[in-house]
């Protein structure tokens, strides 16, 4: 039950990296301790000559590409164990072997990605040390001690991964199964810890703390670690990783679904695709709130940085983001509508689809209307303000907040109808229950519109921003209240099993679209997160004096991200293909 062939040659990297990291951190720690608390120099002031150059190679592009690959792989390998454990746990609780099988299958096909995360991480580190030696020296002088934690987490993660993976079949029964689950949780804790350490380095570069205005370190590592963006970034990346892993798992299942030859195989992969994409969308929904926190912390650290992010040259990047999020919503809704056919009562709900589609599409258009056209402050003055004269009202944040809440509400409605497709409530008060839910939706739509229109357009900025809070609260209230009503109504109801596999082939492309869009969007948003530092290595503390200190355009970033996405997805497909080879023999070709 071990994997064979090409995978065998990769494991040494998994042991090599923690050992190297441990040695490096020991050396760094010695340096730091030898320097003593008074030995911290201000951040170096560099000149273009301080950057080693290799002819024909753009250092920034090399580092960017390596970092992007590493982050994609890392997000993926942090996510896989998270929902492997969740699925395993659900399987134990529900006593349903399907969950266990999917969890193991997914871990098995992904195992090579762990090595590749370490490899790309090594490449990234090497590229940084080669091309930005002074920056790395400066960062190491502050964060040297944290490398020890990094190495320890890496060591535990590797050990836990091996135990978790190779012990899956051996620890399948009774108490051993619980121990196995515990190992899985340990695997996730160490993986998450690893990410938190790396996040400290990245966020320090954006919102430095624990250093004075010249960048001289005060000696308190925790202060530097716990900078403005550390906690929101930890949360944002953690949640986003789950969404990302879910989307990749969904695409994997979709691909296997399309190739499945038996009814049983189709049913299995249809179910896996649905479960994975449910995890992906479920994790996507709270992401804007984590993003809101992240942005709020950016503003509280530096208004200037916040405005660079939201209102400056990057304003259009958020239009691109909006387009992709809109596409994700449409795809998710489309997938749910296709899924009506899985249940016996679904056909009756198809007539509502067109209305939901209109609302979601209209919200998408508002969400997509350009908001700020400001390019530079002088251009803003030339056009007499930040906003477009005609599209202005729709481009403002209140309209977008309203639209996104509507989109969330109606996507949730799609989900409710999807549930009803296989579940017919029979409690005597069904009609009243439905009326209650309809009333709830109507009142919510009215409240969200009122908040958006009145506070968005007839009051000042403080109210515009403040009104988004009750809007979101309304949406959340509807979701929770509707689910409670639904749960009460479902008691004793007739429910037939979903007919898994009864899905049109075209529905599977929605899952592939979700995975591709997530990958691309992560690349784009990673770019903007890094780009708002502008010409700084460490914002406001250490200037980038290299020839490539300028901020690249969105068009250029989009090309880099696209190239990265193609390369990354190609590698992922290759990994799945490798991982699938052994299995096809063993499972008797249901794939």
């Amino acid at each position: 039950m071990t994997h064979r062939g090409p995978l065998r040659c990769l494991p040494p990297t998994r042991w090599l990296v923690p050992v190297l990291a441990l040695l490096a951190s020991a050396a760094l720690a010695q340096d730091v301790l030898a320097a003593g608390p008074s030995g911290y120099a201000p951040a170096p002031v560099l000149s273009p000559g301080d950057y080693p150059a290799i002819r024909g190679l753009s250092p920034r592009l090399a580092v960017w590409f390596a970092a992007q690959m590493h982050v994609w792989f890392a997000a993926f390998v942090l996510a896989v164990p998270i929902f492997a454990v969740i699925l395993e746990f659900v399987g134990v609780v529900k006593k349903d072997a399907r969950y266990d099988r999917v969890a193991y299958e997914f871990l098995r096909v992904s195992i090579t990605a762990f090595s590749l995360t370490a490899v790309t991480g090594g490449i990234l580190l090497a590229a940084l040390i080669v091309f930005y030696p002074d920056l790395m020296k400066y960062l190491a002088s502050i964060f040297g001690p944290t490398a020890l934690f990094y190495a320890l987490f890496f060591f535990f993660e590797t050990a836990a991964l091996y135990t978790y993976y190779y012990g899956w079949k051996r620890m399948a029964e009774g108490r051993l199964k619980l121990l196995h689950l515990a190992v899985g949780i340990g695997l996730n804790l160490s993986g998450t810890g690893l990410m938190f350490v790396a996040n400290a380095w990245v966020t320090f570069m954006m919102t430095p703390a624990g250093v004075d205005a010249a960048g001289a370190f005060g000696g308190n590592v925790w202060e530097a670690v716990n900078n403005h963006l550390w906690s929101p970034m930890n949360l944002h990346r953690f949640v986003a990783n789950i969404a990302y892993g879910g989307s990749i798992a969904g695409a994997y299942a979709a691909y296997r679904f399309l190739g499945a030859s038996s009814e049983e195989g189709r049913a299995h992969y249809d179910w896996m695709g649905y479960t994975a994409s449910l995890i992906a969308i479920g994790a996507l929904l709270p992401l804007p709130f984590a993003g809101y926190w992240l942005t709020a912390e950016i503003y509280s650290f530096s208004q200037q940085m916040g405005i660079t992010l939201m209102g400056g040259v990057f304003a259009w990047l958020f239009i691109v983001q909006a387009v992709i999020i809109g596409a994700l919503f449409l795809a998710a809704n489309y997938y749910l509508w296709c899924g009506f056919g899985r249940g016996g009562y679904g056909a009756g709900y198809l007539k509502y689809v067109k209305y939901i589609a209109v609302v979601v599409a209209a919200s998408f258009l508002v969400w997509f209307t350009p908001h700020t056209l400001i390019l530079t402050p002088s251009e803003a003055r030339a056009i007499g303000g930040q906003y477009h004269p005609y599209l202005g009202p729709l481009g403002l944040m209140p309209a977008k907040n309203t639209a996104v809440n509507m989109m969330l509400l109606f996507t949730f409605l799609s989900f409710l109808l999807y549930r009803r497709a296989h579940r017919r409530p029979v409690v005597p008060w069904v009609k009243y229950g439905n009326a209650l839910q309809a009333g709830l939706f109507t009142a919510a739509v009215a409240n969200i519109s009122f908040l958006g229109v009145y506070y968005g357009y007839f009051t000042n900025t403080v109210y515009k921003v403040a009104s988004s809070v009750p809007q979101v609260a309304t949406t959340l209230f509807v979701i929770v209240a509707c689910l409670v009503i639904e749960w009460l109504m479902a008691r004793g109801g007739r429910s037939e099993d979903f007919k898994w596999g009864r899905m049109p082939e075209r529905s599977q492309y929605a899952l592939i679209l979700i995975a591709v869009s997530f990958t691309w969007l992560m690349g784009l948003m990673g770019f903007v997160r890094s780009a708002i530092r502008q010409h700084w290595h460490v914002y406001s503390v250490m200037k980038d004096a290299s020839a490539e200190a300028f901020t690249p355009s969105i068009a250029y970033a989009a090309k880099v991200v696209s190239a990265g996405t193609v390369v990354f997805l190609a590698i992922i497909v290759f990994i799945f293909w490798l991982g699938g080879m052994g299995q096809e023999k063993e499972a008797g070709g249901d794939g």
Binding site: W316, T376, A380, Q534
Partner: protein, 172 residues
């Protein structure tokens, strides 16, 4: 193999669509070069040069216009700032050490929390702390001359007499 080609083509199409949108549909914006250490090529010799430098810094390196707009509402508009400066000194919320309109404006640039216009404080501080950074801080990093130039520019747009001395005369 058919499904591989189909799904790969579909994925490439999606990536292509996003790339096309980002490259050709949204307007091409090239972010400016990083600002040079000083916006001034030399010390301004005349009031006209001082005002020109002030306007340049206000809209460029100083990033003042990023927040101080009528539309944004993020920070108070500055068209009349030099006019109201004197009155601010006797306002109950004032906690600085300025003695006249010019020194008030200077103080507002380097110690913005000395007086926070009601409604524009950092939320949760009851208007006690301004969200504006010290313009000498390294993320903006204005020089003494640039700060004087901005004050002169503010006095000029407020339509009051320009009291800022040219650098040469101040040194005497």
């Amino acid at each position: 193999m058919g499904r591989f080609v189909k799904t790969a083509a579909f994925s490439l199409f999606i990536i292509g669509l996003y790339t096309f949108y980002s490259v050709f549909v949204i307007p091409p914006i090239n972010p400016g070069e990083p600002p040079s250490e000083s916006a001034a090529s030399g010390e301004p010799a005349t009031i006209v040069e001082l005002l020109a430098l002030g306007e340049e810094v206000y809209n460029g390196k100083g990033a003042c216009a990023l927040c101080h707009t009528r539309e944004g509402g993020r920070a108070p508009a500055l068209e009349g700032s030099a006019l109201v400066a004197k009155a601010r000194l006797s306002s109950p919320g004032y906690s600085g050490k300025a003695v006249d309109a010019e020194s008030y404006l200077y103080e507002s640039l380097v110690d913005p929390s000395a007086y926070v216009v009601p409604g524009y404080g950092v939320s949760g501080t009851d208007g006690g702390v301004s969200p504006m950074p010290d313009v000498r801080a390294s993320s903006i990093g204005l020089s003494e001359t640039e700060i004087r130039a901005v004050i002169a520019y503010l006095q000029s747009v407020s339509g009051v007499e320009i009291t800022v001395a040219l650098p040469e005369r101040r040194r005497e």
